[in-house]
C-alpha cells in the first residue's frame, strides 16, 4: 500500500499596521538596524505593552473572511524562552482563547476539483527581532527593528495530502490576506512565512509522527521542502526505522532539511496569561462594521468573473488568485479591451515575463492601460499577434509606447493590397517547382508560401489576407 502524506501549515502573516502591535514604533521594512525599536520593543525595564487596535481589526477581517468562529473574548499570553533577538525573554502571543477560532478555505486541486481545508485558529502575536550571524567574526549582531511587528499566525488542520495541495493552500491564504489588505504578502521580506508539519502514514492509519519544517519563504521552497521531507520519511520507514518528532530547518541553498531540535530539546514555553494586558473583548457592533468593510473576496470575485465575463472556471481561478492580477485584468476590461485577448495576454505573455523576471504585477513595466493599447492593435488588425509579441518585448524593455514602437520600427500591418499582391506574385514566380507541387495536390505547401510572404514583408502582412490571396492566385 502506498504512503499517504499528511501536511498542516502554520503561516505567519505580518499585518500591515503602521505601528507595532504593542508600541508606537514604525513597522516599515529596511530601516537602519535598531532605529525602529523604542523602549517597549527593546524590552527596557518598566515598559508596558499597549495593544494596537488596528491589528485586532485586521485579525477580525481575516476571521470573517474565512467564516471562522470569532472569539469575542480572547486573551494574550506570554510564551517564555530565551533568545537574544527576543528582548523581553518572552513573546506576547495568544495560547488559550485565540481571537480567531475554527474556519475554512476552499483550494483548487490539479484535477479541477476543489477541496475544503479547515483552519484550526488564527492568533495575534508579536514578531521577534533578527539575529545576524555573519556580520562579525566573533559576535552575533541583533537588529530589533522587526521586534514587535504584528503577526497573525494562521494554523491549519492537517488536511493537505501533497506538497502541491500545501502550496495551493498557502497561495490561497497569501491571496486572501492581500485581498483584505491586512498583509503585503512580500515573501522575500518575510511578511509571509510558512512552517509545515509533515508526516506520512499508510492510508487509513492513525497520523504518523510529524516533523516541523521551518523557515520557508517561497512557494517553490515549500513544495521542495515538503517533497524532500516526505522522501526522507519514506526512506526511514521503509528501512524499518522510526520518525523522530523534531523541528527541521529547510536550507534552500543546499536544498536539504536538517534537524534543529528534537521534541526532548524543545522549549517548555511556560505559557500564562500576560498580566500587563487586558482580555480583548469584541462587541457585535465592531464585528458588523468590519464585516461590512470587507472587500470582495477571491471566491466571490471568481464567481463574478465567470458570470459577468463568461470566463472558464480555470481562467477565473487563475485571474483571481492575486487581487493585483484581478485588478489589472479588470482595468483592461474597463478600457474596453477584448475579454478573450485580455485573458490570454495576462495569463500568457505578461505572466511569463513577470515570472521570468520575478516581478510582481503591480510593479510590471507594462501597465494595464498599455497592455490594453497593445491588444487593441491586434483587434483592429493594425498588427498581427506575432508582431504584438515583439512589440510587447520592446515595451517591456522600455522602448516606448505601442504607437511609438509601431511607428519607429515600421511594424504596421500592410494594408496596401496592391503592394501585397505584388509581393505574393513575386513569391509565386520565384518558386515554380512548389507551385506545381501544390497544384498537384500537396496542399501542405500553402504554409510554405505564407511563410515566404511573411518573410518578405518582415511579418507585417496580415496572415489572413495572405492566405486568402494565395488561395485565389494558386487555384
Amino acid at each position: 500500500m502506498a504512503w499517504e502524506t499528511v501536511i498542516g501549515l502554520e503561516i505567519h502573516s505580518q499585518l500591515r499596521t503602521k505601528s507595532k502591535i504593542f508600541s508606537g514604533a514604525s513597522t516599515s521594512f529596511g530601516a537602519k538596524p535598531n532605529t525602529q525599536a523604542c523602549a517597549v520593543d527593546l524590552g527596557y525595564p518598566g515598559v508596558l505593552p499597549v495593544l494596537n487596535k488596528e491589528a485586532v481589526n485586521m485579525a477580525l477581517s481575516f476571521g470573517l473572511a474565512i467564516n471562522a468562529k470569532i472569539n469575542q473574548y480572547s486573551i494574550f499570553a506570554r510564551k517564555n524562552y530565551f533568545y537574544p533577538d527576543l528582548p523581553k525573554g518572552y513573546q506576547i502571543s495568544q495560547f488559550e482563547l485565540p481571537i480567531v477560532g475554527q474556519g475554512e478555505i476552499e483550494i483548487p486541486l490539479d484535477d479541477g476539483q476543489n477541496k475544503m481545508v479547515r483552519i484550526t485558529r488564527a492568533h495575534l502575536e508579536e514578531d521577534a527581532g533578527k539575529s545576524i550571524h555573519d556580520l562579525y567574526d566573533d559576535f552575533t549582531a541583533i537588529d530589533l527593528n522587526r521586534a514587535g511587528t504584528p503577526l497573525l499566525e494562521i494554523v491549519s488542520e492537517p488536511d493537505m495530502r501533497s506538497a502541491k495541495e500545501a502550496v495551493a493552500y498557502a497561495k490561497k491564504i497569501h491571496a486572501l490576506v492581500q485581498y483584505i489588505g491586512i498583509c503585503d504578502g512580500n515573501m522575500q521580506e518575510g511578511s509571509f512565512r510558512c512552517d509545515a508539519n509533515v508526516s506520512i502514514r499508510k492510508k487509513g492509519d492513525e497520523l504518523g509522527t510529524r516533523a516541523e519544517l521551518k523557515n520557508i519563504n517561497s512557494f517553490k521552497f515549500l513544495e521542495k521542502a515538503i517533497n524532500l521531507e516526505v522522501e526522507r520519511q519514506i526512506d526511514i520507514l521503509e528501512d524499518r526505522g522510526s520518525i523522530v518528532q523534531e523541528t527541521r530547518l529547510y536550507d534552500s541553498d543546499k536544498n536539504e532539511t536538517r534537524s534543529m531540535r528534537s521534541k526532548e530539546e524543545a522549549n517548555d514555553y511556560r505559557y500564562f496569561p500576560d498580566p500587563d494586558l487586558l482580555p480583548v473583548v469584541i462587541d457585535d457592533e465592531l464585528l458588523v462594521q468590519i464585516k461590512n468593510s470587507l472587500p470582495e473576496l477571491p471566491t466571490e470575485k471568481k464567481i463574478r468573473f465567470i458570470d459577468v465575463f463568461g470566463l472558464s472556471e480555470y481562467d477565473a481561478e487563475n485571474l483571481t488568485v492575486q487581487k493585483d492580477i484581478a485588478d489589472y485584468f479588470e482595468s483592461m476590461i474597463a478600457q474596453g479591451a477584448d475579454i478573450k485577448l485580455s485573458v490570454n495576454w495576462v495569463m500568457g505573455e505578461l505572466s511569463a515575463s513577470l515570472n521570468k523576471n520575478q516581478i510582481e504585477i503591480q510593479d510590471s513595466p507594462i501597465s494595464a492601460i498599455e497592455l490594453y493599447e497593445l491588444i487593441t492593435k491586434i483587434s483592429d488588425n493594425t498588427i498581427s499577434g506575432k508582431i504584438a509579441k515583439d512589440i510587447f518585448k520592446s515595451m517591456w524593455e522600455g522602448k516606448g509606447s505601442v504607437e511609438e514602437i509601431i511607428e519607429n520600427q515600421g511594424l504596421k500591418q500592410m494594408t496596401d493590397i496592391d503592394a501585397l499582391e505584388g509581393i505574393i506574385d513575386e513569391v509565386i514566380n520565384s518558386n515554380t517547382l512548389q507551385v506545381q507541387q501544390f497544384k498537384d495536390g500537396n496542399s501542405k505547401l500553402l504554409g510554405f508560401f505564407v511563410g515566404q510572404v511573411m518573410k518578405a514583408t518582415n511579418g507585417k502582412a496580415n496572415p489572413k489576407q495572405v492566405n486568402k490571396i494565395l488561395n485565389d492566385k494558386l487555384s
Binding site: A39, L42, G43, Y44, P45, G46, V47, L48, P49, V50, L51, R78, N80, F82, P84, P87, K88, G89, Y90, T140, I142, D268, R270, Y271, F272, P275, D276, L277, L278
Partner: protein
C-alpha cells in the same frame, strides 16, 4: 526645622517666601549627607538643586501647584531619565534609564524636586530591605533593626525626616509594612489607580505604587498627583479622579469598621495586638462602629501570593539577560554561558529563589496544580472581601505580626514570608490598603492597617486623617544621633 513640616505647610512656606525651594532642598541634602541609614542608593544633589531653582522660578511667577518645589525621595524602582535606576540589584547597577516613568514625568511636570533614589529589596522582593545589593537600610528608631521592605529606604527616609515624602511600590505589603515598622503613613491604592509604566515590574498583576508620607493629608496631596489613567499602562483604570483632599474633613461617625477574626490569631505579637486594639477603641470613641468579620480564605494568602508573584516575576525578569543593558558577565564563552553567568552573578539569592519557584510552577505538568489553583484561590480571597464589604466600610487590623526585627535575625525565607500574612490579601484582591502610626511597643512603631473596598481611597484617607487629628503617633520622631 523645615523637615518637620507637612507638605501643606512646606507649600505654604514656599508660596509665602518663608524659604525657597533651593533652601529647602539644600536643607534636606545636608540632612541626607549626615544620615547613616543607607536609605538612599543615589543622591541626586545637582539635579535636585537645579530642579529647585526651576521650581522657585515657577513659584515666583505664581504658577506652581501645591507640590511645586517640594522635595521627595524616589524609590529606585521608578525609571528616571539620565539617572541610575537600579531596583536594588547588581543587575542594574550600571543602568541609566533612557526614559521617565509616568509618575516621574508627572512629578517633573509639577516641578517637584527629586532628592535621590531610595534603597529597596532587590526588585522589590523582600520584607526587610536586607535583599539589597547596596546593603541593608537601618530603621531610624533603632539602627540595629530593619525598616521593613521592600520600600525600606523610602520609609526610613521619611521617618528620619530626610525626605518630606517618598514613593513606594506595594506588591505584597511593600509600602504598608515598612510604613508600619518605621512609624509613618503609607497607602497602596486600588490596583489600576496609579500607572505602572516605568515602574520596574516584579509581579505585574499585584504591583501598585503609592506614597509614603508623614500624614494621611500628605498622602492625599501626593496621591492627587500620582494617580490617574495612563494610556501607556493597559491595566490602569479609566476612572474619574477625585480630589483626595476634598473629603478629609468628613466626620467618621457611624463608620463601620470590620475586624477580621483571622487577623487576630496566633502569631500576632500580643503587644502589637494591644496597640491595635487601643487604636480601634479610639475609633469607637470617635463614633465608629466595630464589627467582627471573617475572611475565611485569608490563611491561603501566603501560598497563593508565593505562587502568583514568583510566576509573574520569573517571566518579568527574563529581560535581564546581559544582552542589551545591565550586568553582563566577563568573557562569555557562548550564548548559554552569557545567560547563565550574567543572571547567576547579577541576581541576588532571593530573586533567584523566586525566579526558580515561578519557573517551576509554570512548567508543563505543574501549571494547573500551582498557577491555576492559585488563581482560583485568589478569586476566593477576593470574594471574601466582597462579602465583608457588604456589611462594613473599612477593614482594620495589624500590618505586621511584630515590630521591626533585628537585621540578620530572620534567617530562613519561609519565616520572612509568613510575616506578610496581613498585607498580601489586599494585593491579591486589588484593594487599597493603608498603614498609619498607631502607637509603640518597646519604643518601636506599630502600624494600623486599613483596607477599603475598590476605589475607596477617599474613605481610607479621611478615616486615617480623622485618627491623626485625634492622636499624635504620626508626629513622634526617632531620636537623631
Amino acid at each position: 526645622m523645615m523637615h518637620k513640616l507637612s507638605i501643606a505647610e512646606l507649600s505654604k512656606g514656599l508660596k509665602n517666601k518663608d524659604f525657597s525651594s533651593v533652601e529647602l532642598t539644600q536643607h534636606y541634602l545636608d540632612r541626607i549627607a549626615v544620615s547613616e541609614l543607607n536609605s538612599y542608593i543615589t543622591v541626586t544633589d545637582e539635579l535636585a538643586l537645579s530642579q529647585a531653582k526651576d521650581a522657585d522660578f515657577k513659584i515666583a511667577k505664581g504658577k506652581g501647584t501645591i507640590l511645586t518645589g517640594i522635595p521627595y525621595a524616589h524609590k529606585d524602582i521608578f525609571c528616571t531619565q539620565g539617572v541610575k535606576t537600579s531596583a536594588g540589584s547588581k543587575m542594574l547597577d550600571s543602568f541609566i534609564s533612557p526614559y521617565d516613568a509616568t509618575i516621574t514625568e508627572k512629578f517633573n511636570n509639577e516641578n517637584m524636586v527629586m532628592l535621590g533614589k531610595t534603597n529597596m529589596d532587590e526588585f522589590a522582593m523582600g520584607s526587610s530591605n536586607e535583599n539589597s545589593f547596596y546593603g541593608p537600610v537601618k530603621n531610624p528608631w533603632d539602627q540595629k533593626r530593619v525598616p521593613g521592605g521592600s520600600s525600606g529606604g523610602s520609609a526610613a527616609a521619611v521617618a528620619a525626616r530626610i525626605a518630606p515624602f517618598a514613593t513606594g511600590t506595594d506588591t505584597g505589603g511593600s509600602i504598608r509594612q515598612p510604613a508600619s515598622l518605621c512609624g509613618i503613613t503609607g497607602i497602596k491604592p486600588t490596583y489600576g489607580r496609579v500607572s505602572r509604566y516605568g515602574m520596574i515590574a516584579y509581579a505585574s498583576s499585584l504591583d501598585q505604587a503609592g506614597p509614603l508620607t508623614k500624614t494621611a493629608e500628605d498622602a492625599a496631596i501626593v496621591l492627587n498627583s500620582m494617580a490617574g489613567f495612563d494610556d501607556k499602562d493597559s491595566t490602569s483604570a479609566i476612572k474619574e479622579m477625585p480630589d483626595y483632599t476634598k473629603n478629609l474633613g468628613n466626620s467618621i461617625k457611624g463608620l463601620k469598621i470590620g475586624l477580621p477574626r483571622e487577623f487576630f490569631s496566633k502569631g500576632l505579637d500580643s503587644d502589637v495586638e494591644k496597640v491595635i486594639m487601643q487604636s480601634i477603641s479610639k475609633f469607637e470613641v470617635m463614633g465608629a462602629e466595630v464589627h467582627e468579620v471573617s475572611l475565611p480564605n485569608s490563611a491561603y494568602a501566603i501560598p497563593t501570593y508565593y505562587i502568583v508573584a514568583p510566576c509573574e516575576c520569573s517571566s518579568n525578569l527574563s529581560r535581564f539577560d546581559g544582552v542589551r543593558y545591565g550586568y553582563r558577565c566577563d568573557d562569555p564563552k557562548d550564548l548559554n554561558d552569557l545567560y547563565l553567568r550574567s543572571r547567576s552573578e547579577g541576581f541576588g539569592d532571593e530573586v533567584k529563589r523566586r525566579i526558580m519557584i515561578g519557573t517551576y510552577a509554570l512548567s508543563a505538568g505543574y501549571y494547573d496544580a500551582y498557577y491555576l489553583k492559585a488563581q482560583k484561590v485568589r478569586h476566593l480571597i477576593s470574594e471574601d472581601f466582597k462579602k465583608a464589604f457588604e456589611s462594613v466600610d473599612v477593614i482594620m487590623g495589624p500590618v505586621s505580626p511584630t515590630t521591626a526585627f533585628e537585621i540578620g535575625a530572620v534567617k530562613d525565607s519561609v519565616s520572612m514570608y509568613l510575616a506578610d500574612i496581613y498585607t498580601l490579601s489586599a494585593n491579591l484582591a486589588g484593594l487599597p490598603g493603608m498603614s498609619i502610626p498607631a502607637g509603640f511597643s518597646n519604643n518601636l512603631p506599630v502600624g494600623l492597617q486599613l483596607i477599603g473596598n475598590h476605589w475607596s481611597e477617599e474613605t481610607l484617607l479621611n478615616t486615617a486623617h480623622q485618627f491623626q487629628l485625634q492622636t499624635n503617633w504620626h508626629s513622634q520622631l526617632p531620636v537623631e544621633p
